[in-house]
Point group: C2
Chain length 210, copies 2
């Protein structure tokens, strides 16, 4: 157990993977199980897909609104993907971390690189690999949300995204969702126990052995 729950600073947990590697399923399960974990909801200029909920999956905003967020420095990171822009609002992240809550980010390699540059020691990054490209294609086709040319584009982009795995702290293969989820929970549990993430230790030890 940790020495002291109070005074803990939250960590930033990044999950990146090619589309179809199971990241959304993993994120939802993780959020349901981890009360100290909160999701960073990205803003995007792309239109919602079927089933996506504004404010849960993304905040869907206009190009002008996005410009304004960029210009005022309100985004921790942003990137352009397939002609649309995606970004992470800064304020909710800073607030959660200061309250000792961890923040989960579902972002790509571009966003991760920018967060890394900004986030000092708070960032923990995980890359999720599919067990095979055939399995990845199968998962993308099963979603049945996208026309074939979009799936072909996503397969090409998957290879490009995968090429960035060496930039991550941890790399997992999502063969079985339950195993992968257990891996992520172990990483989260361990990272919370790192000495620099337990500022309460100084007082605890001072009281223990004055």
């Amino acid at each position: 157990m940790r020495a002291n729950g109070t005074g803990r600073r939250g960590l930033m947990l990044v999950l990146s993977s090619p589309s179809g590697a199971g990241k959304t399923t993993l994120s939802r399960a993780l959020l349901a199980e981890e009360p100290e974990l909160t999701m960073s909801v990205s803003v995007t200029t792309r239109p919602p897909r079927p089933g996506e909920v504004d404010g849960r999956d993304y905040r869907f905003i206009t190009d002008a609104e996005f410009d304004s967020l960029v210009q005022s420095g309100a985004l921790l990171e942003w990137a352009r993907v397939f002609g649309h822009r995606y970004g992470t609002p800064r304020a909710p992240v800073e607030r959660a971390l200061a309250q000792g809550r961890d923040v989960l980010f579902d972002i790509d390699w571009q966003g991760t690189q920018q967060l890394k540059a900004a986030a000092r020691d708070d960032l923990v990054s995980i890359f999720i690999l599919p067990p095979s490209m055939g399995e990845l294609r199968r998962r993308l086709e099963c979603r049945a949300q996208d026309p074939p040319d979009v799936i072909a584009g996503r397969m090409a982009r998957a290879a490009a995204e995968i090429s960035h795995w060496p930039e991550y702290d941890y790399v997992l293969v999502n063969d079985r969702v339950e195993d992968c989820l257990a891996d992520i929970r172990a990483i989260l549990k361990a990272e919370r126990l790192r000495r620099p993430r337990q500022p309460g230790l100084v007082d605890f030890v001072r009281a223990l052995a004055p």
Copy 2:
């Protein structure tokens, strides 16, 4: 799950704590549960305590034998404690790591500092704190192996040992053994998933997205 079990290099897991913080109980439980984990058995010049088994708890050797190990460079680290010497034989550790097995070390801050200097990125260090000094004293008295003056000496030494907690990667409070054990297992699971500890990833990704 990891990308590839073969080719993995083992890690060195150091558990340090003041005597009586429960480290021996934790080590034994961990070894029983983790087939990929093997114990580093230290050599020592001190006489066995009741119940200690040569080759399991320590290898009990003479001063002359210890001198010879030091002079031939056969020890990864060694330290003098209470007038006796303790050391870690190098060969079994190197062998286990090369086979992809992790090695558990039950050593103090002096040994940890020396291992750190020698072990590059292979070392993961955990410091176990007792929940209170009263609880520590109670545990030392319950063992009933040592006379009161030895217990007093151990309490003083406990405070000195505790002062080295800031040199460790992780710090745990051993309030309940089951919780502490779950913490250590999470750390071990997470550290095995770190990218640099999975050399098989390079080939896995090459086959995935050539």
